[in-house]
Symmetry: C2
Subunit: 632 residues, 2 copies
């Protein structure tokens, strides 16, 4: 029941038509990412996800982690999976070549890591920590630290974690109290406790590199007095060999609703005289460096949303095609997928998954463009877009992903509530994705306050203009004119809500903050709807090209390549081998499926936009409510 296969078809479609993977391969420094290599990597990743990671996902949930004396014991199979993951080169896929990685673009990274997260989120949280830490050290550390640590981190010899949270400092890192004292040798001694540290300890690797937020006794108050320290589990000699155990240890593990395979540790520093730590970058710039890690992590979590939804959907679809109950169109013994309401649920799930993926892959490409595009203007625009939409990607994709995991349980009915089928795990695991690396409320506040108000909505208006241009193009496609109209109305609502934020941002900040989460939902729906509309246009273009090629073939004028080539020429279909039996028919079927998802989107999700815009505009009611509204 709980097997996994990557949705390669959707991945390719989105990479081809929404990302333009060939345009990414054309960027200087991204030459390796030529489409055929990308697709063969995806196929290999699928095998690894399905063959190595997925089979230990449920057992990991059942076994969980435990603290055995000082040792954190992770589930059976984790060690083998880690070793194979590293040996297969998957850890280094997107990491810098100068430290031993392969430096492949983010646009490839996104579908590959989506597979890992689908197959086994609890496991994959470990390698994910390597990505953010590598980025932060690359940005902030001095050359000696980079040379000593990064090759061993990128190779997977040593693992990483991110040690931020303390009991009184969750969303508010300004409240961090962990104390760092300067030692005579230029290093520091750290004292204090961190909580909620994913993979804070384990024995999967020879060493663990903790990046820890702490403050010096004389540091300024608040976030401007927080520094970032590198604390190795085992001290590292100058030649990279390992020395004594450092004064840091896991003192307890959390009992959580999900991700049981990921040890969530309370870590004690300095119980025996002080944990040896090394300053990363400059003093008191810790929050800035932390955000490098955090942004990397948030982008990853946006993939958690789509990944768990995909896994849960695959289970629900399989169940709906195996389970028989009641009569379907008057006939007994046919699977429940044929019941209109079950089909509606399946379409609801798949449409949302498609939309999340269509939203996040092109955003991954923005990273590549920001880093590699030869035009400084184009690079800067991509950077602006990713900065603006990061909280939407994280917030909306995880909110939406949770809804899909919830739908999957509903398709199973009573069998969804019992644990044996496994679908409940994705629902439980996924619940944390709206919390960790910043709750949806924190994302929404970031979006509204830091990303929109601070620049008076400039980037958002730039994006809106781009969406409007696509609306105009869409309106020219006769079959999709209805979608164009609906999307235009959605964009109007987005602008109306943005105007409300800008008009009230300085005079009534509390109302604007109360409007933030509804605004995030609105922004997510509009941006995802934009991508769905783009997909529909590509699909419609492919079908039109195929039809005209078919018509030409019928009159004896067709080229040899048939449907696929014709569709390819229109820039809007799969690159199935020309002339492969049935390839044309299969393509057309797939493309019609994409159009059906777009129809479902504009029937079900696009109509929700107006309500969110109305809620944003009425947000003053929150501030006006007396305390007596909250208790009876």
């Amino acid at each position: 029941m709980d097997t996994y296969g990557a949705p390669l078809r959707d991945m390719r479609f989105i990479l081809d038509h929404l990302v333009g993977i060939d345009s990414i391969a054309a960027l200087p420094g991204c030459e390796a990412a030529e489409p055929e290599l990308v697709y063969s990597i995806l196929e290999e990743a699928d095998k690894f996800a399905a063959g190595v990671l997925a089979p230990i996902n449920k057992s990991g949930d059942l076994q969980g982690c435990r603290l055995d004396g000082d040792r954190v014991v992770v589930p059976y199979g984790w060690q083998e999976a880690w070793d194979q993951f590293v040996a297969g080169g998957w850890l280094g896929l997107s990491l810098p070549e100068q430290y031993g990685g392969q430096g492949l673009p983010k646009a490839l990274w996104a579908p590959v890591w989506e597979m890992w997260f689908s197959a086994n989120l609890a496991f994959t949280m470990l390698p994910q920590l390597t990505l953010g830490q590598t980025e932060a050290l690359d940005v902030a550390a001095d050359e000696a630290m980079k040379a000593l640590y990064l090759p061993r981190i990128v190779s997977g010899e040593w693992a990483c974690n991110m040690s931020l949270t303390e009991p009184q400092a969750g969303s508010d890192l300004a409240a961090v109290r962990m104390r760092a004292e300067a030692a005579a040798d230029g290093s520091y001694r750290l004292f204090g406790q961190k909580i909620f540290i994913s993979y804070g300890d384990h024995e999967l690797t020879d060493n663990i590199v903790h990046l820890v937020l702490a403050r010096l006794p004389d540091a300024p108050a608040g976030i401007k007095g927080i520094s970032l320290f590198l604390v190795p589990k085992f001290l590292v000699n100058a030649d990279g060999s390992l020395g004594a155990k450092n004064d840091v240890r896991a003192v307890s593990l959390e009992h959580k609703m999900g991700i049981h395979g990921s040890p969530t540790c309370t870590m004690a520093y300095g119980d025996q005289g002080g944990a040896v730590g090394y300053l990363v970058g400059e003093l008191n710039r810790g929050i800035e460096y932390m955000f490098v890690m955090m942004n990397e992590a948030r982008f990853g979590v946006s993939l958690h949303g789509v990944a768990l939804a995909e896994r849960a959907y695959q289970m629900a679809l399989r169940y709906a095609n195996e389970r028989s109950q009641g009569k379907v169109a008057g006939e007994a013994g046919r699977p429940i997928a044929g019941h209109p309401d079950v089909k509606r649920q399946l379409l609801a799930m798949r449409t949302r998954i498609f939309a999340m993926r269509a939203l996040v892959y092109p955003a991954a490409a923005w990273f590549d463009q920001a880093r590699h595009h030869p035009s400084p203007e184009a690079a800067a625009r991509s950077r602006r877009y990713i900065d603006l939409l990061m909280p939407v990607l994280k917030g909306w994709n995880t909110e939406t992903g949770n809804l899909v995991c919830d739908d999957a349980i509903q398709v199973f009915g009573g069998m969804g509530f019992v644990e044996e089928t496994g679908v409940a795990q994705h629902y439980r695991d996924g619940r944390v994705t709206r919390i960790y690396e910043g709750t949806t409320g924190i994302q929404a506040n970031d979006l509204v306050s830091r990303k929109i108000l601070r620049e008076n909505g400039a980037t958002l208006r730039e994006l809106v203009a781009e969406i409007r241009a696509d609306v105009a193009a869409l309106a020219d496609v006769r079959e999709l004119a209805g979608h164009a109209k609906a999307l235009a109305a959605n964009v109007d609502d987005l602008e109306r809500a943005t105007d409300f934020l800008l008009a009230n941002g300085s005079s009534d900040p509390a109302t604007v903050q109360a409007a933030a989460v509804p605004f995030l939902h609105l922004a997510g729906l509009v941006c995802a709807g934009w991508r769905v509309a783009q997909a529909a246009r590509a699909a419609q273009g492919g079908l039109a090209a195929a039809a005209s090629a078919g018509a030409a073939a019928a009159t004896g004028a067709a080229g040899v390549a048939g449907v696929a080539a014709a569709a390819g020429a229109a820039g809007a279909a799969e690159s199935a081998p020309a002339g492969a039996p049935g390839a044309g028919a299969e393509d057309a079927g797939y493309l019609r499926g994409v159009l059906a998802l777009a129809s479902f989107w504009f029937a079900t999700y696009a109509p929700q936009v107006r309500g969110h815009a109305d809620t944003v505009a009425a947000s003053a009611c929150v501030g006006l409510a007396p305390d007596t509204a909250l208790w009876a």
Copy 2:
């Protein structure tokens, strides 16, 4: 952290102003339910819920149930709770007086049982089974069976369950295969397996009465061949004493995501020659009798929705008032409840809870009116309303309740995902409420097909006319004219969607079925919004009366009773003791709170109605989607 106190203030407000509890007490046969008695019963129930049931809720979740050989072992404390529950007369509260119950009205039953469900859902599922079984036996059993069983069931001496589901027969009971063979003595022998049987076995009572669906070998196919059998765990002698153990036993328990304290059993019948069963009522009418139980159960589950939401809300509110994080209006150290987004979440939860409760208590009163109203027309109308809205009550309240439990976790942030705080339990427990006793999809199908199409929308139109009359009254209250306009638009959308169903019901049943769940959400929002609007009118009336009494007092013309009496005269405020210190001020504060909830409703939930109506109207897209839309 996880204590419980009943929301007595809200309960009273809704009973006073939306139910009209005095009008229920005026019904013949309901005389005992005079308001002061009702409120003193609620206070006693609160003590029992808070003192006996709530304290063993979390421990029950942690311990769960287990099968020890043939014995089903329930959590620690269950036995004492059951004994006290029965001894306190709580089981018999609403049960017929002729069998030893107290026969109190459903309008009282609803708030009392809401408390049990809030305090401990897993435990309360057991006494809840008694209610449905009593009703079914009362309707269907012969006098001898009633005389032998019902007094012992109503007294709590024996427990009950409802044995319907089989592996191939979940939502579709027509597929029941359990075999019943006639024996020479007029009894039957049952053979087969039932699954998902809540409290299928345990040792809390001396005996357990199973009501079991089964079919005779020569019975007609489908639901018209299913009969209902009474199968006692221990055979019962003519004098009510217990005989031999019957041939029925629990063979396994499910491992579930929640309600761990409720044993969900797989039951084997007839392994040793046949379980002795007795026909209830007439042969082949089992589904009809089952629906008596099922309707009782569904109404109870509609309370599960509000009850778990209330419990989770109380935890979230307490946490938000204790937890400090970040600056609130520039000041550190103040609780997070002051953050606009957290306040928004709390208002979102409380508004939904208020709306669910305001929807369900007046529906409970419909039961009383249907049974006791001296006017046959009024009684029949109440019966029509409860029949029409039962699927909405069950479906919408559980959907909405789940959302509130989800919000509660979000308020806790990371502490919501770890199990120690206890808020995750309500989220896990609550997930099943949208599944058992008919999924939301089943409810929606019932609503659309059996309740609306079958009578061409007659009762719905009758209800809509009633709502429109309230809209007109609301429009006359200057402060609430905006709500009146919004509610009127919502009702328009409900009618538009209903017209769509009626127009397509026979020509395109698949599209109408695909529209059913969106329609159920729409109907729930409109009906709940109607009740919220009624509450706002009562609150506004109370405030206006208090203000004019205050003005009169200031000019020396006030009567002795002050604010409370003035408000009472307007039929729209709490009956606080006249002249009690601060009572007037407290009342006004409460009433302003109700108005704030209404404002939040019309800012946030009412605007969602149009989207659902648009979705209903666009439901043909489900049937049109090719299979290729469902897989990549």
